[in-house]
Symmetry: D2
């Protein structure tokens, strides 16, 4: 998958003023293949220089983006690849316009994740689902395309389950999540609600986890996607953590592995040769008290999932805990990795 | 169970300078039946006035306790009822000395929770287990007695499961806990470890939850205790919450109830007529985002368990979330309620 | 100031659905003199039962208020005393309408705090300023009246300075505040902004502190208020604390007191005989590390200011630290205490 | 000050297992001039591989240090430059032994900061104080030397004051600090003490701030150090922030500058050409709500001090707010920068 580019590919970020949009801009500032040439935002910010809008991440916006003038989210941008950080309701209408106008859209929104013919991708997990694009183009008549990345929590779950499923056949999954506040965007959650508290509900999240995981671990048959048929039972909690989702998982398999066998297949899960791909997508820690979101979320630039506490379950086969960086692997970086795969596979 | 006392019963607190010990002292200050007349502490604090030792709870120590001189934890105290807030390793040796010397020991330590003949009690759940005392005395030759209260998390789990078990027969329980920092005592957890973080491990906790729940829901047969035979799979996490444990629970039953049926039996779970007993041991909230530890832990003076999000589980029968106040119902108040039951039942 | 009421005075809360409004409703639920008979709210909530609106404080809304139907903030309420928790911009227009219609308005808003003829009152500090009401009525032609309570931070500062000023003459005051998040209302501050952070700015706060302190410690001359002429230099910070403002204070006096002399006059500052008044308005703690907002804010039902670390200043005369409960003494309870003073003084 | 080294200088870290020691090891892992060849620790850890000891910082210990065997803190190390992260009580005895044995000791401990002949250095502020080493060696007969770096908070204060003092003459300084928890080391502060709280006291801190600031801004006269004679009044608070101290400062000058003039001299404060020195030691932000510790502490690798809210003071001349990274500029990185200056100036 070696890719040499003589010059950088011009890209745009749709919805660049929100928290996820800012992450895209931050991450793309030094990207070896991509160069941000356009940013779009809400009507309120159109016409302003990007550097004048409120930066909610730590640090400052990249110098290269400060002087870009924020544009409308209409398909008249000087880029053929666009990253969508639009709210899902806006994404629903706007992303197809870009695909119809010939743009490749790498979306972080949930609007088209479960739509027929739209790949929902984690490159290391199901990069082969990109073949759906052929059908997408044929059925929708788009010269462009839409590729989506999964819900932040599902990213962590699917990356943990994929090598285990390949080796032992996943049958049942209980997952209780402890999710970071940054997952709710900005301003998102009030300090008065979450300080010293747990909120045992995140609207729509459990459905996404239960459905997207099966799509990601599904198979391509006759150019169609067939979702995996294991069962997932999810309960989503918000906890006072800034970044990094923690998943407490119990799994039943077709063939019960020992904790050592499970560890081995997780550690051996192969990485890809793409700029944003970590050498190993999954890391396993042996300390009794890891993974922890604050200590492990940033491993491999926030692109590796860290798994620990792999042990026998008194009811099903194994229990384990995973941590994923929700705004990197689980959002902006995940979409950028998808775009890299598109380039490497010749879709761009 | 009406009890009229002509004068208050003198009581002592063993290990009164730790966080749990201080809670005992605080709660007993205005108790209608009990009067604190003696406090014990570590060698380092013996001989000091209680008011001179470092108070770690919010507010101040009660006036009535300030001038008590801290004594050794030896059975020469002017009280026949003692509350033990000793560390488990000390409790192991010290509590039997008191029982052998004729004291009734209401212990919050884990040392004797699973010992044969020692009742592990939540009055509303299994007050009938007090009959074990007869055997305890016979076998150990103690004129006194030891009664224990369960692990803080197990309190919340057992109170949630008991009415459901009676009505529908619990078979399997998955529980992921999000536990407050106060459960680790003082100084306990470093801010640098838990700030903005989740620690997915609490030493020994999962074993306690998995075993104590079955003891509490067990039955008395021929003066012996027979543990319930359902299976529990627990994963314990520490989260940055001051007080209040949250439990994410999935349950399989012999007979599947609807969420409405489960709600009804929880709401109908009867309370006891004891000073520290809440009118209703379990409250059910219907809001999508409750219970929350910070908002619900103090309901009914921290003695009620609040349950919410009762819904169908894609794999087992029901999912739900419970919150229990870990240092009140789950520790000091729980032991005091046990003592009240001992009095009401004539054991004192 | 003994007051015996044969029946409770009916009162209303304007802006009852915000965080301060909810505090009023919570505090008035068991008030010995007042009974809440009407609640007003924004157009969006008018017509709903109060129990249906989102309760943002811990616990639940009082039973007695749940069924009250939220009304418009217009002067047609079945109460002659109204507590205003309106945002300042609304208070500016609405409060005079009530005063003109004969209502006594006890306002927590900043709109009229510095207006001529409108008393800005902390009963223990400057209850005598109520005489301004005579002029207020004369000049404005109101049968009713407006009385205001100070900014939350200023409450703590003025109560600390008042006894010191009486005894030693305050000349210069440096104050750096560390203010709780609840002071910004609900939803107020995003967790992403304040988590593990300090925000060294609160809009308008420093001006309020610098000006209101001088008004509160001012004197009445010829029915007019003359502000004290000491200088205040304030810097306001938001810190990740739920409730309770902390003030780091340095003071220069006309006559330099020793720390012991200052302690004495603070401790001797007399309380009032009103239902919400604490026995002692100021408490002094001698521990090196007190006062602390979480441990001291609730002293005397959140109505006492706690002062500590009274020591010599290398530049001015003394340094000290004060803690005040910003939503009790510094907001709702403060206004209720003002209303009690109005009753006791015969203004109602 | 160009320095070219043909090979790296071997260095050791004394007290490498504590939080500051770990920071030294982390920062030195990729240092262009220095190479860690030895680590020392307490008796309990001597003989263990460094990778086996508990790592308290986020992430993992550097690969290059994992296999180093922890040694005693005795002057038999294969390095001539040692960084001391020893507790002050140990530093008092151990550091002179190293200096007497010919080692150059760059200490982060407070033991010798105020000792005659021992330079207390921030290179950009008072690098010229290194001339004291000549006297240090003469008077103490050491072939080696000790150089110290200031208290973390003082670093931020001195860097803010230095350019202002040079231009306008500092006369009086009021400073209230809001200090991060990491400043207390590990395990340091209990979550139960600092969660949602402010602790208005840090033992010894105020004295250090008041004295060290004057030493740092002092002058060398006849090979002696003469402390600056302005007055500092400090009040130190611990706040629930992980890293980054915030200082609220009021300053009186000999000649009052406008905020714009002050901004200019701060921005123009020149940097040094050393590997760990930032291009500009002081950055000024113009936003109303900056600097903030979480957003600004890491600027320029945590080596720049960020200043904001520069405005007129109602009593003295100016008020402003500074943020300094307490464990980088204010601790380990500060000592490393001192060592770089020693090398560049030929002391090594």
């Amino acid at each position: 998958m070696k890719t040499n580019l003589s010059k950088k590919i011009p890209v745009a970020v749709l919805g660049a003023t929100g928290a996820v949009g800012q992450r895209f801009v931050q991450l793309l500032a030094d990207h070896p293949w991509f160069e941000v040439v356009a940013l779009t935002g809400s009507v309120r910010s159109v016409g302003k220089a990007y550097g004048e809008t409120r930066w909610v991440l730590d640090g400052d916006p990249p110098e290269t983006a400060r002087n870009l003038i924020i544009r409308h989210s209409t398909p008249d941008l000087p880029a053929k690849l666009v990253f969508s950080a639009l709210p899902s309701s806006h994404a629903k209408e706007i992303e197809p316009r870009f695909a119809a106008a010939g743009y490749a859209v790498c979306s972080n929104a949930s609007a088209y994740r479960q739509a027929a013919g739209v790949p929902l991708i984690i490159p290391e997990v199901n990069g082969d689902h990109l073949v759906l694009i052929k059908r997408q183009r044929a059925e929708r008549g788009w010269p462009g395309l839409i590729v989506t990345s999964p819900n932040c929590t599902t990213s962590g779950l699917a990356m943990t389950l994929k090598p285990l499923d390949d080796a032992f056949g996943v049958r049942q999954v209980f997952v209780t999540t402890m999710q970071a506040v940054s997952g709710a965007g900005y301003p998102g959650v009030s300090y008065l609600d979450i300080d010293g508290n747990v909120i045992p509900y995140i609207g729509g999240e459990e459905d996404k986890i239960e459905n997207e995981a099966c799509i990601l671990l599904g198979h391509i048959e006759n150019d169609s996607r067939r979702a995996a048929d294991f069962l997932v039972s999810a309960q989503a909690n918000r906890v006072p953590v800034f970044d990094g989702h923690t998943l407490s998982i119990a799994v039943g398999f077709e063939r019960k592995p020992s904790p050592e066998e499970a560890t081995r297949v997780l550690v051996d899960f192969p990485g890809l040769d793409l700029p944003s791909a970590p050498p190993r997508p999954v890391l396993v820690r042996s300390e009794a008290d890891r993974p922890q979101p604050r200590r492990d979320r940033s491993t491999a630039e926030g692109m590796a999932v860290t798994v620990g506490r792999i042990r026998e379950c008194p009811i099903l086969d194994l229990r384990m805990v995973s941590v994923v960086h929700n705004t990197l692997r689980g959002a902006a970086s995940g979409s950028i990795l998808n775009a890299e795969l598109l380039v490497a596979e010749g879709y761009l």
